[in-house]
């Protein structure tokens, strides 16, 4: 990761077929280090499929996914998490019966040092590690603004805080690349505003590369430096927000009618 010219994340002609349906077709994506990159497109465009491929839930039918130059396509999700990719989910997937704090602690699990025997016997390495984990988790919660609810059950949080907790949990895995799947979905404008600030903020503070799926045009246009537009699995445009907004194909495929009125 020393070489800053290597892009953080690259997709090379990634294709995903489900039976007869091609969900993603020959996607090329190049996310530079430290970027805040957007992946947009209408419903069914294949955005979440891309996330599932990058995070290892799906194995692409063909093509390569490179994390700092190393191919990670086809690895299991937990291996990919170890390599430094973390994600959130479009339909929030917290550990609902665990406390807010425990949710974050699970995110820290993969960086553990103490083995099972040390843990069961409460040997010193395990004990100092647990203490350290608790401190790290508490600090993360504070940075994300959830320190006051750390002992609540995750399912008891309001929607906006659940989304934030998902981000905190992902950050706990100490990722290099963070994938955010529609983080603003279902939020009101004020919450969305807060969230946008949070996202740029954590990018800088944790020196992350962020790939963001978004439906809400305002969010992407507001914070992403570059973006790729998908439609029916095809890449129809790539560029800066200004370029995208002027792009004929994008306007036709995506921004047409309702979306323009909404903006």
């Amino acid at each position: 990761m020393a070489d800053t010219n290597i892009p953080a994340l690259v997709c090379e002609s990634v294709t995903m077929r489900f039976g007869g349906l091609t969900a993603v077709n020959g996607l090329n994506l190049r996310v530079p280090q430290g970027a805040l990159y957007g992946l947009i497109g209408p419903n069914g465009a294949g955005k979440t499929t891309v996330f599932n491929i990058v995070s290892g839930v799906l194995c692409p039918s063909s093509g390569a996914v490179k994390l700092f130059g190393a191919d990670v396509a086809g690895l299991t999700p937990d291996r990919i998490a170890h390599r430094g990719i973390a994600r959130t989910f479009q339909n929030i997937r917290l550990f609902r019966n665990l406390t807010v704090l425990d949710n974050v602690l699970v995110g820290l699990h993969l960086r553990r040092e103490a083995n099972l025997a040390e843990a069961l016997l409460a040997l010193p390495r395990h004990r100092s590690e647990e203490a350290q984990m608790a401190a790290t988790a508490a600090q993360l919660l504070e940075e994300i603004g959830l320190q006051d609810v750390s002992h609540y059950r995750a399912s008891a949080l309001p929607y906006g805080q659940q989304r934030r907790l998902e981000i905190a949990r992902a950050l706990a895995t100490k990722p290099a690349v963070l994938l955010l799947d529609e983080p603003a979905a279902g939020m009101n404008p004020a919450e969305t505003e807060d969230l946008m600030r949070l996202i740029t903020d954590i990018r800088d503070r944790f020196s992350l590369t962020i790939l963001l799926i978004e439906h809400e045009m305002k969010v992407v246009m507001g914070i992403c430096e570059r973006m790729t537009v998908l439609d029916h699995g095809e890449t129809i445009a790539e560029g800066t927000p200004e370029e995208i907004q002027r792009n004929e194909r994008v306007i036709k495929a995506y921004l047409g009618g309702g979306a323009v009125a909404r903006n």
């Binding site: 039976g19 599932n52 839930v57 989910f89």
Partner: protein, 297 residues
């Protein structure tokens, strides 16, 4: 092995396969609509044989009346079980419903033990089913033709109901998605009740045929034939009626042939179905005719 013995075994295999198929349909229909292993289905089957038994033995009904009454009562029993034990848990975690199903299964098996007694009862077998028929040097009783034929007829009727009637359409719609089906005006509760009624009625037919074939019935006869038939349904592709029938036949036929050709393995007969299950789930989890299902992320 002579041809005669082979044909005799084939007849046994087809008969057992038909019985398994009748039971497997109930599992596959319920799983298709509720995503639940109806553990109690085997006990529904067991109780149906007792309905028929008591009809002839205590109420001295003509066997035709007794059998029909048993089928109707069993269908009602299936509907009642769904109402009482599964419906309240429809929105609960699936495992709760599974535990409930296991509970119902045990409750019925032990109620059977308490009410019917543990000693096996002799099922009344009308002579008409025992009439000998000779075919190509093999001598079998009429029952060996009745069972597969009846199974085939019921299967045609079931296919008609599921694919050609409005009720069937409602059942298929509910299989996909309760909420959407409701929005389309489908009475989901009714569709589920009908599914249980049909599945249980078929189990009753299977139960009566079982009684006619094996003559003895006991309160413990439900669990394992039941589980085998669930396996048959998985084998064929869960949720798929033709698959359940195919799976039932293959399993029944295979079980008989295993014992016939490899008598050394006869002791492993009861493990056979489970080995098939594990292999099928490892190699082709969707079964022979099933569709692919994936977890949505």
């Amino acid at each position: 092995m002579t041809l005669e013995i082979f044909l005799q075994n084939a007849a046994n295999g087809i008969t057992l396969g038909s019985l398994y198929a009748l039971l497997a349909i109930g599992y596959t229909m319920v799983y298709g609509i509720l995503r639940l292993i109806n553990f109690a289905h085997g006990e529904i089957f067991m109780i149906s044989t007792y309905f028929a038994f008591y009809g002839t033995a205590i109420f001295a009904l003509p066997w035709q009346v007794s059998f029909v009454a048993a089928i109707i009562l069993t269908a009602l029993l299936g509907v009642v079980i769904e109402r009482a034990a599964y419906r309240p848990l429809r929105d609960a975690p699936r495992i709760s419903a599974l535990i409930s199903a296991i509970g119902v299964s045990f409750l019925m098996a032990n109620l059977g033990l308490v009410i019917f007694g543990g000693r096996p009862k002799t099922f009344y077998r009308p002579p008409i089913f025992q009439a000998p028929i000779e075919l190509g040097g093999v001598r079998v009783v009429a029952l060996f033709f009745v069972i597969p034929l009846l199974t085939a007829v019921l299967l045609v009727a079931l296919n008609y109901i599921v694919y050609r009637t409005k009720t069937g359409l409602a059942m298929r719609a509910a299989q996909w998605d309760f909420d959407t089906a409701r929005l389309m005006g489908v009475d989901v509760d009714r569709a589920i009740s009908i599914t249980f009624a049909i599945g249980s009625a078929l189990a009753a037919v299977g139960g009566i045929m079982w009684g006619l074939r094996f003559a003895e019935i006991n309160p413990n006869m439900g669990l394992f034939p039941g589980l085998k038939c669930f396996i048959a349904a998985v084998f064929g592709g869960i949720g798929n009626i033709s698959g359940a029938v195919l799976g039932g036949f293959i399993l029944g036929f295979g079980e008989i042939m295993l014992v016939a050709f490899l008598p050394g393995l006869a002791g492993y007969r009861d493990a056979f179905a489970f080995i098939v299950l594990i292999l099928i789930l490892l190699v082709r989890p969707t079964g022979l005719l099933g569709d692919k299902q994936r977890v949505k992320v």
